[in-house]
Structure formats: structure tokens, C-alpha cells
């Protein structure tokens, strides 16, 4: 073995030009693979961190009727189905050992009516209980305009305004405000605040003299399954998400009761009562008379007339909805009694995502709660798949690169084998077996791979470590996706490094096969004939 490596090592130096060509190819391959892996892993990790900790949680519970798991970026106008039994779901989720926390939310698209006779605007909204939301995502956005004196721009301000003061309203991300301005020519600012000139978009600055500034807007839900209504909401703050702002910035956040009114869902102020036959008779709601009126045994009454029936199971008992609050105020009401669209779930740190979602789905399925759990990757559609897609693209690119590299290396080594016919033939003549010739070629290629590929790997690791020091940031949506956040932060795991090493080994073995075949078929007679 020592002899083989001695000959291999010296042959590398003897054929410097060839060795350098092969070495450079291996160096570039390893470097590209290492840096590429670090970018992908950084993106994957960044996306996971920013999506899980900043927007969705690990798992999203969605209505079972939803055809697609991708509920985050559905086509405009396509509404997410409803969850009307959150309290039952909550009871089940509390029992689950895997879960750290969960948060019910509404998620849909709203039209923003233009009161200036212009075009309407559109925005995606989340309907949340702000107190719960701020507990679930304690630091996922900052207040950039609004009452920022006390809270220094932290979520605490919003929490104080909307939880402790029990206010209704909406917080709007910078991105959404710019989009709404582009659509409606209206610049929204928070209540009790002044226009912040430096926050104006370029278009708004150009149009400064004719800028229409408002601190309220009328939102109207968009739903494909039920009627919606419009609601005027005060802008409580302009926010910036802590990460992926240009993507999450499409989502405004409003209080859940306003959201429900906007989307035409049952609010918490509308209590769902099951009325037995005796009460029904007393109320004059006998089945026959109802059937005569509606052609159905189901009795639904709401103060607002905004009724969502899609997910209520009326098969066993006849039910009626009786409003408990005529003014629709959310004061002192059980918010969880109303309609939601999704439940965000965070897993405990030691729980594997796929295992967790599998176990949760098993529970949800056996409990017949009409919902299913999907991973954040599936729920966030193309965003969650970005890492996988880009990883696949990188793999194909690297595979192509390695394929070309393999051809070049195979060709070079084969030429080397033929050039060394005399030497190899002579070795065979004096007693070297084919195994030794094989070992010599593997040794040479392994040394080149180990040396140049190793340098490529080390340089790649160094680059991956150095890039974050430059604090490269981007405001561009696509670039942010590639970065996995606002900042470019490549990351290399031990697994990534092992994959690069494995690929180098595979390349080494593949490249050496054909030259070995050529070399071991060289006979002493070939050497003599060549002489």
C-alpha cells in the first residue's frame, strides 16, 4: 500500500500539467458543491426559522375540505375554508404531548374599498386575537409608524393598544401600504400620527402634492362560499416583519372579530345554541314550519345575517344560532367560539416535524374534527418548496458539472494510462498484479481528489463562514427567498460536508473505472511492442 501511494504521489508531480487540470476541476466541483450546499442549507434553515418562528409555526391545521395543502398563497379570490369547531380542536390539541403552543387565525383576502372613486385595492389579511398572536410570535414584527414612544417600536405597543385597550383595527405592513397606494392612490398612516416623509414610496414622493392620506379604510371580505360585508377599520400601526418582510408584508393583521365581520363569518358575539324540541316548540320553530319556510330542518339565525354553515354538522341535532349581542361588540366575549380558517401549531423542540404531523393527523382523524395537519413547508406552498426546488436545481447543475468533469478526468486519466503503457507493462512483466495497477490509479485519483477536492471543501467552508460577516441584505422578494430571510446567511451542517465528501468519493471512483480497465489490460507485451 505504501509503495502504491509512493508511486501514485510521485506520478502526480511527474505529470504536473495533467494533475493540475484534474485538480482544478475537482477543486471547482468541491468548492461549488460546498458553497452551493451552504447557500441551500442557509436558505432552508432561514426559511424554516423565519416561517416557523415568524409566520406559520411548525404545523398548520387546515380544514379537511381544503383540496390543496398550500393555504398561504392561494390564488386571489379563492378563500380558505372555515373551522367552526375550534373549541373542540383546542380540547384535543391541549392533550397532545408533542405540541408547545397553538394559535387559531383567520386568513383570507379582502378588498379595500376606494372612497375616492378610484380602483379598489386588495390585501391578504390574518385575523388574530392580538394577545394570543403576540404570545405566539413575540417578536416577528416591529412598529415603524404609530405610537412608538413607549414600546420603542416593539410588538408590545400593538399588544397594549389592541389587547389591553381592547381596540379593533388593523396593522398594515409597509409592503401592503405601498401596494395599496399603487392600486388605490391612497397612503395609509396610523391614527393619531403624522405622515413620515422618509417612509413614502418613490411613487408617493413623486406624487406628494396630490397624496391622499387616510388613517382608516373600508375592508370587504372576498369569499367564494358565503356573503361578505364591509367594515371600516382604523389603521393602528404600520409594521415591518422582522424577516421576509417583502413576502409576509402582503399580510395585514386585523383583530379576529373585525376579520369575521369582514368575511361574513360567525363572530364570537354570535352564540351557537342547540335547541331541543321542547324549546323549539316554545319558540315556534317546529320542524314543519321551518321546512315550509326554508326547505330544511336546519335553523340558523344571526344578527348580522352573515352566516357560514359550511362546516357545521347538523346531521344529528337541529340547531339554531341565536345572537347574544346585537351590537356585535367583542367585549367580554369568548373569541374562540367564532369561526377561524387555520390553526398554527408549534412543536416542542425535540419533536421531528414529519413524526409530529403524522401523530397529530392520526389524532385529528380519529377525533373526526374535520381538519388535518400539514407541515409549514406544504402550507406555505412554493415558499416552503423553494429550498427543495433550488436544491434540486443545484444538484442537477452540480451533477452536470461533475458529469463534464468526469468526462474530462476520465479522458485525461485514460490518456495517462496509454502514455504509461511501457511503465505499466514493465511493472506487470516484473510481477505486479492487476490489483497493484488498479491501486496505483485509485491512489493517484484519490490523492488528487483528497488534495484539490479537500482544498475546495475548505475554501468553500471558509467562504460560507465569511459571507455572513459582510451582512449582505436584500429587499427583493426572490432574493429574500434565496437568502431564506433578509440577510444572506449560508450555513453548512456536518451532513452537508459529508455529502460533498461522498460526492468526491463517487466522482473519484467513477472517473477511475475506465482508466483502470485500460491500464490493467496493458500487457508486458504491449510495453515491449511499444519499445
Amino acid at each position: 500500500m505504501q509503495l502504491i501511494f509512493k508511486i501514485a504521489w510521485r506520478n502526480i508531480f511527474r505529470h504536473k500539467g495533467r494533475s493540475i487540470i484534474i485538480g482544478i476541476i475537482l477543486f471547482l466541483g468541491a468548492l461549488l458543491m460546498t458553497v452551493g450546499s451552504s447557500v441551500i442549507s442557509g436558505m432552508d434553515r432561514g426559511l424554516e426559522k423565519n416561517i416557523v418562528n415568524g409566520f406559520l409555526g411548525d404545523i398548520v391545521i387546515i380544514p379537511e375540505k381544503e383540496k390543496s395543502d398550500n393555504i398561504l398563497f392561494k390564488l386571489y379570490g379563492e378563500s380558505v375554508d372555515t373551522i367552526t369547531n375550534y373549541k373542540d380542536i383546542k380540547k384535543q390539541l391541549i392533550k397532545e404531548d408533542d405540541l408547545k403552543d397553538f394559535l387559531p387565525v383567520g386568513k383570507n383576502v379582502t378588498t379595500v374599498l376606494n372612497e375616492e372613486d378610484g380602483d379598489p385595492g386588495f390585501t391578504m389579511v390574518l385575523g388574530v386575537d392580538f394577545k394570543e398572536y403576540c404570545n405566539f410570535f413575540p417578536d416577528n414584527f416591529q412598529l415603524v409608524e404609530g405610537d412608538i414612544k413607549n414600546g420603542e417600536g416593539k410588538q408590545a405597543v400593538i399588544k397594549q393598544k389592541m389587547v389591553e385597550n381592547q381596540e379593533t383595527g388593523i396593522v398594515i405592513p409597509l409592503k401592503t401600504r405601498e401596494d395599496l397606494y399603487d392600486q388605490m392612490n391612497v397612503w395609509l398612516i396610523p391614527e393619531k400620527s403624522r405622515l413620515v416623509e422618509e417612509n413614502l414610496s418613490e411613487d408617493a414622493k413623486d406624487n406628494r402634492s396630490e397624496l391622499k392620506i387616510k388613517n382608516t379604510a373600508v375592508f370587504m371580505g372576498m369569499s367564494s362560499t358565503n356573503s361578505t360585508s364591509d367594515i371600516r377599520l382604523t389603521v393602528k400601526g404600520i409594521i415591518k416583519y422582522s424577516a421576509l418582510n417583502t413576502i409576509w408584508g402582503h399580510f395585514a393583521i386585523m383583530d379576529i372579530e373585525s376579520y369575521r365581520k369582514c368575511l361574513g363569518y360567525f363572530g364570537a358575539s354570535e352564540k351557537l345554541d342547540i335547541i331541543d324540541e321542547e324549546k323549539k316548540k316554545l319558540l315556534g320553530l317546529e320542524t314543519d314550519s321551518i321546512e315550509n319556510l326554508f326547505g330544511s330542518t336546519d335553523v340558523l339565525v344571526s344578527d348580522s345575517g352573515n352566516v357560514e354553515v359550511a362546516d357545521i354538522d347538523f346531521s344529528k341535532k337541529e340547531v339554531s344560532v341565536v345572537p347574544t349581542s346585537r351590537n356585535g361588540s367583542s367585549t367580554n366575549v369568548d373569541l374562540e367560539a367564532g369561526v377561524y380558517n387555520l390553526v398554527f401549531v408549534k412543536l416542542k423542540d425535540n419533536i421531528n416535524l414529519e413524526d409530529g404531523v403524522k401523530r397529530l393527523n392520526s389524532t385529528l382523524s380519529s377525533s373526526k374534527l374535520g381538519v388535518r395537519a400539514v407541515t409549514w413547508k406544504k402550507a406555505s406552498g412554493f415558499i416552503g418548496s423553494m429550498a427543495t426546488i433550488i436544491k434540486g436545481a443545484l444538484f442537477l447543475f452540480v451533477a452536470f458539472l461533475f458529469f463534464v468533469a468526469i468526462i474530462i478526468i476520465v479522458n485525461t486519466l485514460t490518456m495517462a494510462a496509454i502514455e504509461r503503457t511501457t511503465e505499466i507493462g514493465m511493472m506487470r512483466a516484473i510481477g505486479a498484479r492487476k490489483a497493484m495497477v488498479t491501486g496505483m490509479f485509485i491512489g493517484e485519483t484519490s490523492i488528487l481528489s483528497g488534495l484539490f477536492g479537500g482544498i475546495g471543501l475548505v475554501v468553500g467552508i471558509a467562504i460560507a463562514q465569511l459571507i455572513p460577516l459582510f451582512n449582505i441584505t436584500s429587499e427583493n422578494d426572490i432574493v429574500q427567498l434565496l437568502f431564506g430571510g433578509d440577510t444572506f446567511h449560508p450555513f453548512l451542517s456536518m451532513g452537508d460536508i459529508l455529502v460533498v465528501i461522498f460526492e468526491l468519493i463517487v466522482v473519484t471512483l467513477i472517473t477511475v473505472i475506465y482508466p483502470i480497465i485500460v491500464a490493467i489490460n496493458i500487457t508486458p507485451l504491449d510495453a515491449i511492442s511499444r519499445d
Partner: protein
């Protein structure tokens, strides 16, 4: 005692559309310790005969027995072992391993045998290098040696495993006459010292005088 016994040896090979009859029924025996020269003009078949004896080429028919082993029926691995253990080679163009120095080149066959310790290998190689007069060049690479010096290294390497036979195909062909004579003197001396059978081919009549026995060959046949 015969170290080599050859009977009815023929070698034919195709050359384009024709068949070349390189050897046409060779019969002879070589005794252990002989210093034999195979002579004949170019194309007479002497190199082919030497290659078959050296297990480098296959016979078309006939029998070749080396040290009691019929080599015409052996597989590649067995043939390789015969070459390693029983035969030493000295090639026309001093085929040394260019990346190894003199000592390493001579050690090479011993290291392939894997039956001696490193120190034994080194000691044996050094003694042969000394015997061929290259002790001062022990760390030199082949490219740093003259033609004659390289051929001395080849002789040392051929003898290092203590083979039954050393085959030398025109060992002086690429050397000037003075150096060629020195090499033949050395081979003769080694033949005496090591009791190794030497067979060398040549078409140089000046070289023939060194041979103990001469086997003349012409058109693939032995000539009396």
C-alpha cells in the same frame, strides 16, 4: 538439471490478412546456471522466443516447462507469480520506474513478493546495487543516470528476487560498445556469483563471445 524444457513450440500471429509464423517448432532444454545467447537476424523470432520463456507472450502450441511448471496452461495470476518469483527481466530500453530512485527500483520486485521485512528488502537491494557498482547513485532517479548505469540498475533489479532465470532482450542494443561490454561482463559475473541462468538475445556478433552457449535461430527455426 534443466531449468527450461521447450518442446514443439510454435507461435503464430495474425498480421493484417496473413498469419506470421514467428516460431515453427522449437525444441531445446536449458540447464540451470547456463549463460545462453539466442542469436539471429532481425525478425528471426528470438524476441518472440524470449517473451514466451519469460511468460510475457503465449505459445500457439507446444510445451514450455520452467522449473518444473508447464506455463502454457496457467492463468494470468499464476503467470504473474511465475514472472515475479522465477524470472528476472532486463529490457532493451532499461525499463525502470521513472518516479522511483535506484534503491526503490531494485527493491520493487521484492516489495511485490511481500515475504521479507523492510530491512531485509533494503539490505538485499543495497547489496545488489553495490554489486553492480552503483552505490554512489542509490538515491538517483533513472533520469539522472546514464544508459549504462540504468542497465546496471535493471540487472540488479532482475537479480534481486534470486530468480531461476534472467532474460535479457538485446541488453546492449542501446549502449555504446564499451558500455555494452561492461554490462555483459557484469551479467557474466552475476551468472557466476548468483548461479542464475542467463538467457539473452542479440544480433551483435561481438556480444556472442560472452555466451557460454549459443542458440541460433532463423525464420522461426533453430539452426544447428
Amino acid at each position: 538439471m534443466n531449468i527450461i524444457e521447450i518442446k514443439e513450440l510454435t507461435k503464430n500471429y495474425p498480421l493484417g490478412s496473413t498469419i506470421v509464423h514467428a516460431l515453427r517448432g522449437i525444441d531445446f532444454n536449458i540447464a540451470s546456471g547456463d549463460f545462453l545467447s539466442i542469436v539471429g537476424p532481425s525478425g528471426s523470432g528470438k524476441t518472440t522466443l524470449l517473451n514466451i520463456i519469460g511468460c510475457i507472450d503465449n505459445a500457439s502450441s507446444g510445451s514450455v516447462n520452467i522449473g518444473g511448471v508447464e506455463i502454457t496452461k496457467l492463468n494470468d495470476k499464476e503467470i504473474t507469480d511465475i514472472r515475479l518469483h522465477k524470472i528476472g527481466f532486463i529490457f532493451q530500453t532499461f525499463n525502470l520506474i521513472p518516479v522511483l530512485d535506484v534503491l526503490e527500483n531494485v527493491e520493487f520486485p521484492l516489495l511485490l513478493m511481500k515475504n521479507r521485512s523492510k530491512s531485509e528488502v533494503k539490505k538485499r537491494a543495497e547489496s545488489l546495487i553495490d554489486a553492480v557498482g552503483l552505490s554512489e547513485h542509490i538515491k538517483h532517479r533513472p533520469s539522472e543516470l546514464s544508459g549504462g548505469q540504468r542497465q546496471r540498475v535493471a540487472i540488479a533489479r532482475a537479480l534481486v528476487t534470486n530468480p531461476d532465470i534472467v532474460l535479457a532482450d538485446e541488453p546492449t542494443a542501446n549502449l555504446d560498445s564499451a558500455t555494452g561490454e561492461q554490462i555483459l561482463e557484469l551479467m557474466k559475473e552475476m551468472n557466476r556469483k548468483e548461479k542464475t541462468t542467463f538467457i539473452f538475445s542479440t544480433h551483435d556478433s561481438n556480444v556472442i563471445k560472452y555466451a557460454g552457449y549459443v542458440l541460433k535461430i532463423k525464420d522461426g527455426k533453430m539452426v544447428n
